[in-house]
């Protein structure tokens, strides 16, 4: 039984996801001590730009232009619409070289070994449902259910699966949902037209649960801790991360927050990118 991690990285014109993936992979290896592979449509850029990369396997996928745009904040005062390539997550079953795979987004920064026990669990599929915003005043409804009328929300950001017939069925189902997104979007009253893996995973898990509360998806240890793209990462030292998080009622002002020994989903990828480049992320 082989165990390893996979990170997806598909660059767009404004953001070097491969840079984020290299950084994220190093953190993952440091704390979880498992091999990490990358799935990318830009293997050339990986070998040119990051020849010392830590990846066990480089899994190449076809480069496809996407018309899907997503609004990314960069702090509370800046908003950009960027290309968003998130259409191959469902292929992970076939792409992963491991029997048991931890999949993380390139903006998920591992700073602890909390996921280690989950890597030796015998469950088919583990994922985060519970989450915590570092800005504790912000509403969290959008991460509790896919909308107020509908089903529980699961984070497609981090999950662990074991290859077997059941998880094959799950990823086939996610592919089916993706292929028929317009239908499922309407069926589940999702307002946003943008395809989101979180939603596709949530719908697929709901169906795998027989459309009721079931135990198909086991929750990963702890909670998905996140900062939104309206916040900034400003420093990282050993396992301590410092953020400027959006201040309540003061648009464009921030509160300094610190995490220690916590894995954090840093949604402001532009800030994370600047930090990796040696800046302070602001």
């Amino acid at each position: 039984m082989t165990t390893g991690a996979v990170i997806f990285a598909q660059n767009n014109a404004s953001l070097d996801y491969i840079k984020l993936a290299v950084f994220s992979a190093k953190q993952l290896i440091k704390h979880l001590d498992i091999p990490v592979s990358i799935v990318t449509d830009s293997p050339g850029w990986l070998s040119t730009g990051y020849p010392e990369h830590p990846f066990d396997h480089v899994i190449s996928v076809d480069f496809k232009d996407t018309t899907q745009l997503k609004a990314f904040n960069d702090g509370a005062l800046s908003l950009k619409k960027l290309e968003w390539k998130n259409f191959i997550r469902d292929q992970i079953y076939d792409l992963s070289p491991y029997d048991r795979t931890l999949v993380i987004d390139s903006d998920y920064i591992i700073n602890s070994s909390i996921l280690k026990p989950a890597l030796s669990n015998q469950y088919d599929f583990q994922i985060y449902k519970r989450s915590m915003d570092l800005a504790d005043w912000r509403p969290t409804n959008e991460f509790e259910r896919i909308n107020q009328y509908s089903i529980p929300f699961y984070w497609g950001t981090v999950f662990i699966f074991e290859k077997n017939e059941i998880t094959k069925a799950l990823f086939d189902l996610i592919s089916y949902i993706k292929s028929n997104w317009l239908y499922f979007r309407n069926l589940y009253s999702i307002e946003s037209t943008t395809f989101r893996n979180d939603f596709a995973f949530s719908i697929a898990i709901h169906i795998m649960n027989g459309k009721t509360n079931g135990g198909f998806a086991i929750e990963l240890p702890g909670k998905m801790i996140y900062t939104k793209d309206k916040d900034f990462l400003i420093s990282m030292e050993d396992t301590t991360m410092r953020f400027l998080v959006e201040k309540k009622d003061y648009h464009g002002e921030y509160t300094l927050t610190k995490t220690q020994d916590l894995d954090v989903h840093v949604m402001n990828k532009l800030s994370l990118s600047r930090y990796i480049d040696g800046g302070i992320g602001v």
């Binding site: 259910r145 089903i151 709901h206």
Partner: protein
């Protein structure tokens, strides 16, 4: 020991409770593997088509006038005295049973009386109901649901129902003494039971947290919506499929479903229930 479900049905000018009871009976016949007996207590006429769904049709005893109170509940304490079963689960008529609930009988058989004190919304979240339970909260009362409860013929249950009779007949005095805050101007059965529990100090005898009795309550205010609509049916879709699964908002409903709105019970729903029972 005979076991069965009992419903109380008193038609009003606007609601055909007997028809609701018929739909509930069909759902019981379809879903229950061991205990599928159901009797109806009513003084209303039962259409011929409905009769075969019920084991017994029992007239409301000691009946001197048709229920003219706000909730028409003043006769419901009589259920203990007329049930044909040794062990009875009492249900409201505007409910559908969606799964086998034999485990309820297994659990309740160890007790004399058990009330449901836990409800869920259609998202299957356990919820509190602070809007309609203001009086209970203000007076620090327990929160039993008469819509689903169990009793067996026993001395303790008889004592409980005699006390409940007293409360129903003297509800103004009881409210004044046990529920003076957020005073209710009518006799609601749930409040009468909560007061009975106070009078008998029966908190631990008829309620407990392990109790498996629960149902899905479709009151709009507990569905977790930012804007509560007049009708839940205008907010989320629902379908009763050919397997008997009731899916609301894409979520398969479990066990017992309390639909509340009489308009939910369309002819299509009745027909589907009849089909499930091989009556099509």
């Amino acid at each position: 020991m005979s076991k069965g479900f009992v419903v109380f049905a008193q038609n009003t000018k606007t609601v055909d409770y007997v028809r609701q009871a018929y739909a509930l009976a069909l759902s019981i016949k379809y879903t229950q593997k061991e205990v599928a007996n159901i009797s109806i207590i009513t003084n209303d006429e039962i259409p011929k088509k409905y009769r075969k769904a019920f084991d017994q049709i029992i007239p409301i005893p000691w009946f001197d006038k048709k229920g003219d109170s706000r909730y028409a509940t003043e006769h419901r304490w009589k259920v203990f005295h007329v049930t044909p079963y040794d062990e009875t689960i009492v249900l409201d008529t505007d409910m559908l049973l969606l799964e086998d609930v034999n485990v309820w009988w297994d659990y309740c058989s160890n007790h004399d009386v058990r009330f449901c004190n836990r409800i869920k919304n259609y998202k299957l979240d356990i919820v509190l109901d602070p809007v309609s339970r203001k009086t209970f909260i203000a007076n620090n009362l327990t929160s039993p649901y008469c819509a689903l409860h169990y009793f067996k013929k026993s001395d303790y249950a008889l004592e409980f129902y005699k006390t409940l009779e007293f409360v129903c007949k003297n509800w103004e005095w009881c409210w004044t003494n046990f529920a003076p805050k957020q005073y209710q101007n009518a006799c609601s059965m749930d409040l009468a039971i909560a007061v009975t529990i106070e009078i008998m100090l029966a908190h631990d005898t008829v309620l407990d947290n392990l109790n498996p009795l629960e149902f899905i309550h479709m009151r709009g205010s507990i569905q977790g919506w930012s804007n509560t609509q007049a009708s839940w049916r205008n907010t989320v879709t629902h379908v009763l499929n050919s397997k008997g699964d009731l899916v609301v908002g894409n979520i398969k409903q479990s066990k017992l479903f309390h639909y509340i709105e009489k308009e939910f019970l369309t002819e299509d729903i009745i027909t589907r229930l009849e089909e499930l029972n091989g009556q099509a």
